[in-house]
């Protein structure tokens, strides 16, 4: 996939609520994070769940979020993070992210 994100890219998770089998947890939708690494392309579970082949495959990333960006009242350390595996089509560029 040529339009892959690269490690270090700032991304925002789509805030949609499709009714199907979605592996992007609700708590992270709409949140902003940074791509850590690319795991490769995998069959799309949103199709596999319905007995479809899950094609085209989707690129899977590890995306890191700061706890404070997920939970504004997080009471741990500022540096604490959550890393989540997210498929390409659930991410959007977050161009303002680098300046925040």
């Amino acid at each position: 996939m040529s339009d892959r994100y690269s490690p270090g890219d700032h991304v925002r998770v789509r805030a949609d609520s499709p009714p199907g089998h979605i592996r992007t947890p609700v708590y992270i939708r709409g949140k902003c994070g940074v791509v850590r690494r690319i795991f490769g392309d995998f069959p799309n579970p949103e199709g596999l769940a319905y007995g479809q082949p899950g094609l085209p495959e989707k690129t899977l990333y590890e995306v890191r979020f700061r706890q404070r960006d997920i939970w504004p009242d997080y009471d741990g350390e500022l540096r604490d993070t959550v890393d989540i595996d997210i498929y390409h089509h659930w991410l959007e560029p977050d161009d303002a992210g680098a300046t925040r």
Binding site: S17, G20, P25, V26, Y27, P45, A49, Y50, W71
Partner: protein, 109 residues
């Protein structure tokens, strides 16, 4: 909008950190799921099972234990795919209940 399985971040009580070993029954459900999804059979996939669990509804999801949800999910999928019928399942359960009732009477005697 959360489905019953999507619980990350919700309030909940303390974690029961005691490890409870898997029972023999749980291991059998696990094994059936492994076999139905293996390359020889490919009858159900991991994501089909997950979807079936997610679709159980809030009350059922909350009431059933982990492997009971798996049992519910695999049952639904086998019905959907026409591999088993509810009549067959009901009859088999009745047969097993009767058989186990007899076994129990024998033990007590």
């Amino acid at each position: 909008m959360r489905a019953p399985h999507d619980i990350g971040g919700l309030p909940a009580g303390p974690v029961d950190t005691e490890p409870h070993a898997a029972t023999f029954w749980e291991k059998r459900i696990d094994a059936i799921n492994v076999l139905l999804g293996d390359d020889k059979r490919r009858i159900l996939s991991r994501d089909e099972r997950r979807l079936a669990i997610e679709s159980l509804g809030e009350e059922v999801y909350q009431t059933l234990g982990y492997y009971e949800r798996w049992t519910a999910a695999v049952t639904r999928l086998l019905l959907q795919k026409g591999i088993l019928s509810q009549d067959e399942i009901d009859a088999k359960i009745a047969e097993i209940r009767a058989r186990m009732g007899e076994a129990e009477e024998k033990t007590e005697a």
